[in-house]
Symmetry: none
Subunit: 248 residues, 2 copies
């Protein structure tokens, strides 16, 4: 392999994952650590990346990437980390959209090998950064509000899927009313998603607890895991703890 090709490869990895480990590159490219270090140094000289102990970072990662505008980002990161624990190698996972799911995806382990179905283009793009994850985007009408695909076609396709786990964000959850929503189409969509997965995890920031909206998606019993940013023994969760529900 030519040096230039190696450089291109490294830059592709960097642009894809925003970071790269020296040790990974050694394996992937089958050259010595010295060579990788020299490559990285040369790319630094060309001002194409930042070098750090153990690997390198994308230049654009720090400057142009601004997700600080995400509402309650810290909570969502905490939820994302917890959700990652549910994912094992070889699983088939179905996800919805939303910023919480996105934070979850960003925190998946690099080497994970799994199959992900998703109705969110943004989630698909983020998932594509993992080499060993197969990503299937479910197509259909694209919703301008919630940035996911919806409609009859989506529901038809969902009915053909059998997933081990479904991860979804939520608009509202209530200990008695269960999962609820405001829009008919989204409601239908969530029902279909639930129906095709063995287990369901709901990702939910604490401020959406104890709220019930107009349309019912499912009772609380249909949910396998509730993941919030709160401690397990937090008072707000007591009424959920009583139910048949794993709380993370």
């Amino acid at each position: 392999m030519l040096k230039k090709e190696r450089h291109d490869f490294i830059m592709r990895q960097i642009n894809l994952h925003n970071r790269v480990l020296t040790s990974d590159l050694v394996q992937l490219l089958n050259v010595s650590e010295d060579t990788i270090r020299r490559d990285l140094q040369e790319l630094v000289d060309e001002n194409l990346l930042y070098k750090v102990h153990g690997g390198a970072l994308s230049k654009s990662y720090h400057s142009s990437f601004d997700d600080s505008t995400v509402y309650a980002r810290d909570s969502k990161i905490a939820i994302g980390k917890k959700a990652v624990q549910l994912i094992k190698d070889g699983m088939v996972v179905l996800t919805g959209g939303g910023t919480t799911i996105l934070e979850f995806v960003k925190r998946l382990p690099q080497g994970l090998s799994a199959t992900f179905f998703t109705i969110s283009p943004l989630v698909a793009v983020e998932l594509a950064k993992y080499n060993n994850i197969e990503v299937i985007l479910i197509g259909g009408l694209f919703s301008k509000n919630s940035q996911v695909t919806y409609g009859g076609q989506v529901i038809t396709q969902l009915s053909e899927i059998k997933a081990d786990l479904c991860l979804m964000g939520t608009s509202a959850i209530h200990p008695d009313e269960g999962l609820t929503d405001t829009y008919w189409e989204i409601n239908q969509l969530k029902k279909a998603m639930l129906a095709c997965a063995k287990k369901t995890a709901v990702l939910c920031i604490s401020e959406k607890l104890d709220i019930a909206l107009r349309l019912r998606v499912c009772p609380i019993e249909s949910i396998s895991y509730l993941i919030t940013e709160l401690d397990l023994d937090h008072e707000s969760l007591s009424r959920y703890r009583a139910k048949e529900l794993n709380i993370l």
Copy 2:
């Protein structure tokens, strides 16, 4: 073997494999290293390839890396503006992916009312910013390299669509060889896209002109519009002007 024949051979290798090693050429062509080096140098002087230590790379091999800063952005904006002229109210448009298409989408007029099918999640998200555009994302396997959906499911869905216009980016276009590509799946995809649209516009920055890759998508006659950033009377376009093709 004549020098010209050798040059042609080298260019063919480059366009086919994106790269070539000096040592391989020595063997294949049965000449000394010096001769190969001189050949490569001459091809560099003609601006036909990129020479590196150990061999040479295709000029158009910018393909999938360089994500952070859009390559040749100004050209792509110019192309996008031209392409917008083809879009009228009420049209059904099918688009591929890529940075050129994205620049096109960003330049659509605000009030436009139309239906867009797309295989690119990023394009879908961008299109969703227009209130009167209905966006349908075609789902399927998601390609990590080209960031579009592909595979059997996509092709099946495409076969059910009838679009007025198909807009696609391109890897390579050649006056005699037509549209060509390197990957089988993308090749199949483009064929399917062409098949379901009444007219096709190819968006192509000038440096991808006159290049032929391994797999053929369609002859030049199947294309309705060729859109580049060049002036209409630019010399590089003369060989395309001869064909049945609208040049913008």
